[in-house]
Symmetry: D2
Subunit: 251 residues, 4 copies
């Protein structure tokens, strides 16, 4: 997967892009393993910061062939798609139809900006089960990807039952830290992978929380998950490309 020098367009990272045939086709799919970077709203990810990280993601993705997707602030969805040709998720989407909802973000707005999916129910933006189900269903109907965040084996199981594309397991106590969930609590990962297989085997599992090195990512994949969801270790890095390069180095 290494040694590639040419700039990949978004197309090769997507197994199928089915914008033309709405209903019967499978929605957009991303190649496995997936490195999904949640930019949150750190000083380092606002404005030019987002471009800096997108540039790094483009570069390391080109070098390694590994899919690196970003979840930036709403205003950076379109610029990042447009300038860096990177798969972009929204960080959140509101479970409302377009209408009189001041300050909210309905699905057609993130789709129109170019997002191919959305995080749903991040531990920093919890939703009710009814709203998660609305979002997962609406994203599927719009042929977009849903990545629903869970916090333990039980909630992973519950959320897998809703049939999202991804469940990302992020034990809240590890988020933002330097201990990865795959080190601190591998059972939560293997338990979740097993539970998801029993409930709905088409749901992919991502390992989240505390991911900061190539070893974490390798372990995450070895434990049976199809990639990682991470944030601060990339966003707050002095050299995001160096960190991303390390993260994908053992895949």
């Amino acid at each position: 997967m290494k040694e590639r020098t040419k700039r990949l367009s978004l197309a090769p990272l997507l197994i199928s892009n089915t914008k033309t045939n709405y209903r019967p086709m499978k929605p957009t799919t991303l190649k496995t393993p997936l490195v999904l970077v949640n930019l949150k709203c750190y000083t380092e990810s606002i404005g030019n910061g987002a471009h800096r990280i997108a540039r790094a993601a483009r570069e390391v993705s080109d070098e390694s062939g590994i899919t690196i997707a970003l979840a930036p602030l709403y205003m950076d969805i379109h610029p990042i798609i447009h300038h860096y040709d990177i798969p972009v998720f929204a960080q959140h989407v509101d479970p409302v139809e377009p209408g009189a909802h001041t300050g909210r973000m309905p699905l057609p707005a993130i789709k129109s900006a170019g997002a191919i999916g959305s995080l749903v129910n991040h531990s920093e933006y919890r939703l009710s089960v009814a709203d998660i189900e609305k979002n997962v269903t609406a994203l599927r109907q719009a042929q977009m990807l849903s990545c629903v965040c869970s916090n333990n084996v039980a909630t992973t199981k519950a959320l897998a039952a809703l049939g999202p594309d991804y469940v990302a397991i992020e034990p809240p106590e590890l988020i933002g830290g330097k201990i990865s969930v795959s080190e601190a609590n591998p059972e939560i990962i293997t338990g979740s992978v097993d539970a998801v297989r029993n409930i709905n085997s088409s749901v992919k599992v991502l390992t989240g929380a505390g991911i900061h090195s190539g070893t974490c990512v390798k372990t995450a994949v070895e434990l049976g998950t199809e990639g990682v969801l991470l944030a601060s270790s990339v966003v707050k890095a002095e050299d995001p490309a160096a960190i991303l390069r390390d993260l994908v180095s053992l895949l």
Copy 2:
């Protein structure tokens, strides 16, 4: 309640009450079928109104042998248990430990008042999945019953995966109306019953929303659920005992 010849104690309505042996025992269980009346906070269920409904529930329960449980306002939990010896659920419990949480209601407070369980995630008080899971787990550990409310087949499935004692299906569009879910949409009930069986067969399903007659209750049981969750048709009735008598008449 006047001429009752023998006053039932709470005990016969409970299959096992295991307050003495904390850990390994099964929690309190209610006899099937169950008629669970959510008093909400109608004018008719505040203060003396709650006593009026409790009296009716006691009377019809005595006559019929059917378990009728109530979910009153917090201040009526203890009086209803104490005066009418009726199984009482809280309408909500906050997923917090006792502490500095002004205006919140932690589990030990409803347990200390005598509740044997709690509604969780009612459509009028939605919680995040993480909080539902906390509540279900905490209620189980306290040997109390959890009755988690869902709104469609998909969310029923998700919530059953958390292993509560009951899932009550209440399509929001039918709540408070005169069309019962068993008439309007029996597929949501049978679909939920099937889904729950596949996910966790120890979870019991209740039919909610629009239940107003003995026929509704009979259909609910015939569709495979173990009782009903209802509110306005009893609470707002001129004669709650007459309505309750009708509700249990075909069981």
Copy 3:
């Protein structure tokens, strides 16, 4: 004010109680200075704990003649009124009319239980301005007392403009601690007192956060406020009566 031995009924603590004449009369008023103890939902204030604190409040109130009011959990409003004849506030009231609001607490429910008022907008249960205004207006119309919590001079000013009976200033960083606001930041108190005087001089100011001794209470009164709102130092005390006795000792 000391040396009184006889048990006071609630009446002498209330300057006017106007249940009989609804409209034109002034609502219930409490004698100044006021010591208002928020029981929150600590292990020490659930169930029997609430009675223990109520007994202490009754005792110290009788000895000193100082009004000590309590804000217990909902289920303890009526028992405390009934057994200890103490002025009781709810910790929160929901800005809804009685109706289909599972798990919520409308004003008539706390009034029916015997509360003479309610805390509103505690820092642990923030409300929107529209909802605070609804609550303040509804409490006034029901001739009950509103005690709205603020967190700095600016919000004190804003909340005083709504015309509640009390504004209690509780800088969030001091809540639950051992440094009282009157020591840490007397300017916030004097600034608030001045601001309130300019906006609506009929609003009384209480000093909250970190109050733990007679000196704190004395300072609070000297800075121009009409009492204190406190919680943990009484609730978590081994001997609540001893603490309460110290709190009122320099008045």
Copy 4:
């Protein structure tokens, strides 16, 4: 936007723009009267729709010299500023510092996108008083404009006490309708204008809710307010320029 003879830059609409001197200068100010259009998230205001409305606003602003500002979705803040040189408000800003807040929108993000201010506490996105105060203060420190929404005279008074640049009065029952507040309830406007004058005369009042014609706008100004906040009548119009032209026609 094609044949406009002279393209106005943003500068003439702003009385002072003080990006260069941070502290002592007055923040950005808009010329009075102000027509502020909240695009909400209607189908008509997502993606190209936002450009269509921005073009109309640019055109009518050029023709009439009246300041027309827009509050679009987050992703349209920068494109609208950039392509149409129109003063842009965010519809909401989260009262958080930049950091680990997935899906939230801190002030520096909207500022970096080019917004000159933000709506705060719209009736469709209510905030606590503490959070409104944080937002108003943070916007002032960033030399941006705050437009806080209120729903009646009492809340207008409370919110004016926080010293925002604008308070926009929108009785919830009139939002989205065809009856303007200035017709339905002129007393709420005159009462608010008086109340604001007494509390903080530097706060400007906008008339909101139901504004749909030049007469509404004229009345709003005659009642003492400095402009209007409106949404659906422009956003859902077949020809937004025609509606805007009518709205400013009697000024």
